[in-house]
């Protein structure tokens, strides 16, 4: 017997999933596309600051696609703003993790950063091993879950033992996709990049704090928490400290 509770839960899920099926307003998309082309045109003519302004406006208007971040990274790179270029290439990589141009430009820009920061931990390795977006990971999870539980239900109801094998196979895939989706959906590091030519990292935010080390433009870090004018950061090699917000982009 199907309980009313189950039906209510199913309807709630459908309601929450409704945004997936919602089509974007074609006129709004058209307008954004025109702005995008205009920014591209500015870039091609060497007006990098205009291109930057155009791409930033698109981001502010919700057009934060991987392509916009990528082009903005290019524009900042041409405009000699290495830190912002790296930041937007990284944002582009989040949306387009398998795009070779994005990966190349990120590596190209990173190679020009002054600070050499040793990578510790498995964060970068996991990121490289799972070149998927969050949406891709969650869709894969949904497909695997549907298949796995369908086989489970079919075996429960029909008692056909041969269904054990597809159930086992889809169960393994489901477990794998759970792990990938968890990494993508739950482990979402908030990162930043130094934009100032040189930025001090301090032991605290008060008066009598000590300068721990200095970073230079293009240095990447993860953000642990923040205050009004300061953020506490951690480098890939484990170094931590407080950095002025104005010296970086997040």
């Amino acid at each position: 017997m199907i309980r009313p509770q189950s039906i209510r839960l199913f309807l709630l899920a459908l309601w929450l999933a409704a945004p997936l099926a919602r089509a974007a307003d074609p006129e709004a998309v058209e307008a954004l596309a025109k702005k995008f082309q205009a920014a591209n045109q500015a870039f091609e003519t060497g007006s990098y600051k205009d291109a930057i302004a155009g791409y930033e406006a698109l981001l502010a208007g919700g057009a934060a696609s991987g392509v916009v971040h990528y082009n903005l990274g290019d524009a900042y790179f041409r405009d000699k703003e290495l830190g912002r270029a790296i930041f937007h290439f990284r944002k582009a990589r989040e949306a387009l993790p398998r795009d070779p141009d994005v990966r190349f430009n990120l590596g190209f820009a990173r190679a020009r950063a002054t600070d050499r920061i040793e990578q510790k931990g498995l964060g970068a390795a996991i990121e490289a091993a799972l070149p998927f977006t969050e949406r891709e990971a969650l869709r894969a999870l949904a497909a695997a879950a549907a298949l796995f539980f369908a086989f489970l239900a079919a075996r429960t109801l029909t008692k056909r033992e041969w269904l054990f094998w597809p159930e086992l196979a889809t169960g393994l895939v489901f477990a794998l996709t759970v792990a990938v989706a968890a990494e993508k959906a739950l482990y979402r590091p908030h990162f930043g990049v130094v934009t100032a030519a040189e930025a001090g990292v301090y032991s605290g935010t008060g008066k009598d704090t000590t300068l721990l080390f200095s970073l230079h433009e293009g240095a990447e870090f993860s953000v642990e928490n923040g205050e009004a004018d300061w953020v506490r950061i951690q480098l890939a090699d484990g170094k931590r400290g407080w950095l002025k917000r104005q010296d970086a982009i997040f």
Partner: protein, 589 residues
């Protein structure tokens, strides 16, 4: 027998140990020969007395001999309670040149003190001092050409003749200074009869190519080994030690003798190839050769590549073969690395050297690859000859490209060069692609997670519940009746009408409901046995009393012929509904 021997030996050593080392250490150098022939081996013995752990002594002034240690023996003697220990080091000495030499002393350092033996005078004479014994082992070396030309192949043959047992054989070839050496064929073994005796022969052949003219010498090849001479072991006395060492425990009864065999040096007179008749383009090739050439295709378009293959095969120093420069009108030539495959033919080293060239026609028409002439010197005929290929024709059709930029011979690119990077830059911007953000909103993320981790498991949960219900139905025949009792009751309640049969219908409805709900015959329920039947079902007193009252009411009305009016009917329905709800509540608790 063996155990007894071991015990006796151990006991003797135990008894001997306290006495050992008490005598002063002395060293003795001895040999049985005072005159030996050049190249004749003889044995040197260095005996160390009175030292338990003597190290190998050094024999001084032995530069005129090649000295090699061949073994060590130890002796323990107990005479009238006095024990002595001697260690003998055996050396094999081979004179290097004739003359009279003083060899020794043998020196040994014991406890920081150097102990020396006396010296020996050895006369080395040319030739042999003793008639050659019938040795069961011989070695021989020969070359098939003693006066070759520079670059001409000669075959060096080493043979080991054996009529006995040789273990641990080690063969050392000479350095072959002035020659290039190549393996000719694998070691060959066969038997032959010489001097009326059958010999086992091991034969090794090498191909040698003299590199310079003049008198060259191929040094001796040396074979070391342990010869086992069957049945020659000297029978020892009857002491326990003799029996111990003669025991089968040591496996061999024959005597093992370290031997060294050397081949005589070989003189080679190497000549330059004659200048008379030397053709232009001669590049040192010597032997006997043939050449052939072929094109991968005879029709080709301008800019396309065609492969010219030239094969030079024969016997001799084919590795040294070179092609003359090809000047081909209307063709651009790209060389590939030549490939050499060696082979043995008639006991001599030869093979094939294959040259490949990629030809790219530059204009349409007919192009001729001319005859390719490779001169070589034939040492047998002592004259120069030429290996020549026939001319080859190539028809070139007009092509779309003036020239192929990357020709290939044998399918492989030619003349690769490292790419020289002269600049670097980022990839350009993208003009196509989605502009809208691909980021997931929290709602979408939650929806996917809910679907995957809640909805799908819930659907399976439903299937599980359905399965359990089916199982319960199969196991409990009253389950279906119970589970439908209340719904059936509520449906029946709506059908009760205010008429003459209203009370009877209400009575049947209540009794039917209770019978269904608790799986008994409800229509047989009377007010009298209501408590008896309902009490065990753990219904409350109030519910049981209400049930009794209603059943009594129905009974009175039925037997009294009462008609159910509308007002009473509504109140009755309310009471019945309330009672059923209470029953459901208490029964489910």
């Amino acid at each position: 027998m063996r155990i007894r021997s071991l015990i006796l030996l151990a006991l003797s050593l135990f008894l001997a140990c306290p006495a050992l080392g008490k005598d002063p250490v002395s060293v003795e150098l001895a040999t049985e020969h005072t005159a030996v022939g050049e190249g004749e081996d003889f044995q040197l013995q260095v005996t160390v007395h009175g030292s338990r752990d003597a190290k190998q002594p050094i024999i001084a002034n032995a530069e005129a001999f090649e000295v090699q240690q061949t073994g060590t023996t130890s002796q323990v003697q107990i005479i009238n309670g006095s024990t002595s220990l001697a260690t003998t080091f055996l050396f094999q000495a081979t004179p290097k040149r004739p003359g009279t030499f003083t060899i020794g002393p043998a020196r040994l350092t014991v406890d920081g003190k150097t102990v020396e033996s006396g010296t020996l005078a050895i006369q080395v004479v040319k030739g042999a001092t003793q008639p050659a014994k019938e040795s069961p082992f011989r070695v021989a070396a020969e070359i098939d050409e003693k006066a070759p030309y520079v670059g001409q192949q000669i075959v060096y043959t080493f043979r080991f003749f054996s009529r006995g047992r040789l273990t641990g054989a080690q063969l050392s070839f000479p350095d072959f200074n002035g020659f290039l050496k190549e393996e000719l064929e694998k070691q060959k073994e066969y038997e032959t009869v010489q001097d009326g005796a059958r010999w086992s022969v091991t034969e090794i052949k090498l191909a040698l190519f003299p590199q310079t003219a003049g008198a060259l010498t191929i040094g001796p090849a040396t074979l070391h080994g342990n010869a086992v001479v069957e049945g020659t072991r000297r029978r020892r006395g009857n002491s326990p030690f003799d029996q111990f060492f003669d025991d089968d425990f040591f496996g061999m009864r024959g005597e093992v003798k370290r031997i060294t065999l050397r081949t005589p040096p070989l003189a080679v007179a190497v000549h330059e190839v004659p200048e008379a008749g030397k053709p232009a383009g001669y590049a040192g090739l010597i032997g006997s050769f043939q050449a052939r050439a072929l094109l991968s295709k005879s029709d080709v378009a301008v800019g396309d590549s065609v492969t010219l293959t030239v094969e030079l095969s024969g016997t001799g120093n084919v590795r040294d073969a070179r092609l003359p420069d090809l000047k081909l009108e209307g063709l651009k030539v790209y060389d590939d690395q030549p490939v050499v495959k060696t082979a043995v033919s008639d006991g001599h080293l030869g093979g094939t050297k294959t040259f490949k060239k990629a030809l790219v026609p530059l204009k349409a028409g007919t192009v001729t690859v001319p005859a390719i002439r490779i001169p070589y010197f034939d040492p047998k005929a002592k004259t120069y000859r030429v290996a020549e290929t026939p001319p080859l024709g190539l028809t070139v059709a007009p092509g779309t490209a003036e020239e192929a930029p990357r020709p290939a011979a044998g399918g492989q690119p030619l003349s690769k060069k490292d790419i020289s990077v002269v600049g670097s830059d980022i990839m350009p911007i993208k003009h196509a692609g989605a502009v809208l953000s691909e980021d997931m909103g929290p709602g979408e993320r939650l929806a996917w997670l809910l679907f995957s981790l809640a909805v799908c498991p819930a659907l399976w949960g439903i299937a599980f519940a359905v399965d359990r219900a089916r199982a319960r139905r199969r196991a409990d025949s009253g389950y279906e009746r119970r589970s439908r009792a209340y719904r059936k009751f509520t449906q029946g309640l709506d059908r009760i009408a205010p008429d003459a049969d209203g009370f009877a219908a209400s009575s049947a409805l209540l009794r039917g409901y209770l019978g269904d709900r608790f799986d008994f015959d409800g229509l047989a329920l009377t007010p009298i046995d209501a408590e008896r039947k309902l009490r065990p079902l753990r219904l409350s007193d109030a519910t049981i009393r209400e049930t009794e009252e209603l059943l009594k009411l129905f009974e009175r009305a039925e037997y009294g012929g009462e008609r159910l009016d509308e007002r009473t009917g509504e109140r009755l329905k309310e009471r019945l509904a309330a009672l059923a709800k209470q029953v459901e509540k208490e029964a489910s608790a």
